[in-house]
């Protein structure tokens, strides 16, 4: 066996796949945010011409899929696998949005960590020479997420300041064994971490220890330091979670403050937009990566990025039964150069 596994949780890919194309479609609110110029498409209203929120989210996924294929100059015949998932029960949006794709399909659930999880699996498939081209895809929708996890839209409730705003959007990437980068070089798969936080309106705090654990493990496994990166970005910790994560990592002896950001803080302008602690959802890290980060990598503004999508693995049943919120974070190391 080729010794690809390094340290406890990390794989150093020997045939690093390239991210040859990305695509992102976002909702109107995201389309008014600071990253609006980076997304491929901004839909005009959340219904997206469909009769239910679930159908709208499936359509987001379907459209992103065809967009990313087109941008990569590929057809479904070129694809070996789709690895996709979302937040809805039984991964409804991925299953229904991609049912006509005709491509071998691996449905994954990592809550909001799905983008990094699917990219990890896709990279392993390519590195293992099981596949040449893989599409990794995810989505979330504010309205369908509210309906499933929180309250009906028209219920007159207040959100506490720690609550986050589920991003409406879908992001996808095409990974290929051929290409000239950016390359996925390392994968650190997170373990489930539960520090006992029960407040469903403070998911950032629930997920921060998982993000810290994965990032610190990544440093230990690879021997990299914060200086190895020009951006370390978590998925959707929001303002409170990001601050906690930053401090927890500092306690472990690493200082990432200067190069650390969070997709949930990047996608909305919290001063101007009603997003409370920031954005969340699978679509948050997916669209920020596919829209903003990938373009900055291509421009050479960024060269080494650690993309750490974070997921809160709760269900409505578990929180009604008084359970705390288990969380997971997966890290994908992306670089313009191969060392």
């Amino acid at each position: 066996m080729a010794n690809k596994k390094i340290g406890k949780q990390t794989v150093k890919l020997q045939n690093p796949p390239s991210v040859i194309a990305t695509a992102s479609i976002v909702g109107p609110k995201e389309g008014e945010g600071p990253l609006r110029l980076y997304f491929d498409e901004i839909i005009e209203d959340e219904n997206f011409g469909e009769k239910s929120w679930e159908k709208a989210e499936s359509k987001l996924m379907r459209e992103t899929f065809s967009k990313v294929l087109k941008k990569a100059n590929k057809t479904t015949d070129d694809l070996d696998y789709i690895v996709a998932g979302d937040l809805l029960n039984q991964c409804l949006a991925a299953n229904f949005g991609l049912r006509e794709s005709g491509v071998p399909f691996l449905g994954v659930y990592g809550a909001c960590s799905t983008m990094a999880e699917s990219m990890s699996i896709g990279s392993l498939l390519i590195d293992g020479e099981f596949a040449k081209n893989v599409v990794c895809l995810t989505s979330s929708h504010f309205c369908s997420a509210e309906k499933q996890f929180r309250f009906p839209l028209e219920l007159g409730t207040q959100r506490p300041p720690t609550a986050q705003w589920t991003v409406t959007g879908s992001g996808g990437v095409v990974l290929s064994n051929e290409g000239s980068g950016p390359y996925i070089t390392h994968i650190t798969t997170g373990k489930i971490v539960d520090m006992g936080i029960k407040d469903v309106n403070n998911m950032g705090a629930a997920m921060a220890p998982a993000a810290m654990d994965t990032i610190v493990t990544h440093f230990k496994d690879t021997g990299f330091t914060p200086e190895s990166y020009d951006l370390i970005v978590t998925g959707d910790l929001g303002a409170i979670g990001k601050e906690i994560c930053d401090e927890l990592i500092q306690e472990k002896g690493y200082n990432i403050s200067n190069i650390y950001n969070d997709c949930g803080l990047m996608i909305f302008d919290r001063e101007r937009q009603d997003a409370h602690a920031g954005g969340s959802g699978c679509g948050c890290s997916a669209t920020v990566f596919a829209g903003f980060i990938y373009k900055k990598l291509m421009e050479g503004v960024l060269n080494n990025v650690l993309f750490v999508a974070t997921g809160a693995l709760l269900s409505t049943t578990s929180s009604q039964q008084g359970e705390s919120i288990p969380s997971v974070a997966h890290a994908v190391s992306i670089s313009n150069t191969l060392s």
């Binding site: 609110k29 959340e46 309205c143 007159g156 207040q158 506490p160 407040d199 309106n201």
Partner: protein, 123 residues
């Protein structure tokens, strides 16, 4: 006329205070809407059966009957009335009888409006 204005002021103050208590519960305990409403209807029923809520209604008028505590109070008031006139069976008839208008209106108007309108996305 002067007396009329006083009823408005009293309704405002009593109703406002009841809602402010609800706000403390929400902010301090992170209770959801369903729990808040259940607590208020139950509290109204208990205070009603102890005769305390009647005093609040005497002072605040609609300020005490419009909040959901008033719904609980109304249930108990009807129950007591029927218990006094028909005995134990009244415990099972009086409450819903007294609240019949509210319950029926809520179901009927609730059904009509939800059929007629669609939810709108928030931004």
């Amino acid at each position: 006329m002067g007396e009329n204005i006083l009823t408005y002021i009293n309704a405002f103050i009593v109703g406002g205070i009841i809602c402010a208590i609800g706000q403390i519960l929400i902010d301090k305990t992170k209770l959801t809407t369903a729990r808040i409403l259940v607590i208020f209807v139950t509290a109204g029923a208990i205070l009603g059966s102890l005769g305390i809520y009647q005093k609040l209604v005497d002072i605040g008028g609609a300020g005490a009957t419009v909040p959901l505590t008033g719904f609980g109070y109304n249930l108990v008031k009807g129950t007591f009335k029927d218990v006094e006139s028909t005995g134990l069976l009244g415990a099972f008839t009086g409450g819903v009888k007294a609240a019949a208008t509210g319950i029926t209106a809520a179901i009927f108007f609730g059904y009509l409006t939800s059929v007629a309108f669609r939810p709108k996305a928030k931004r």
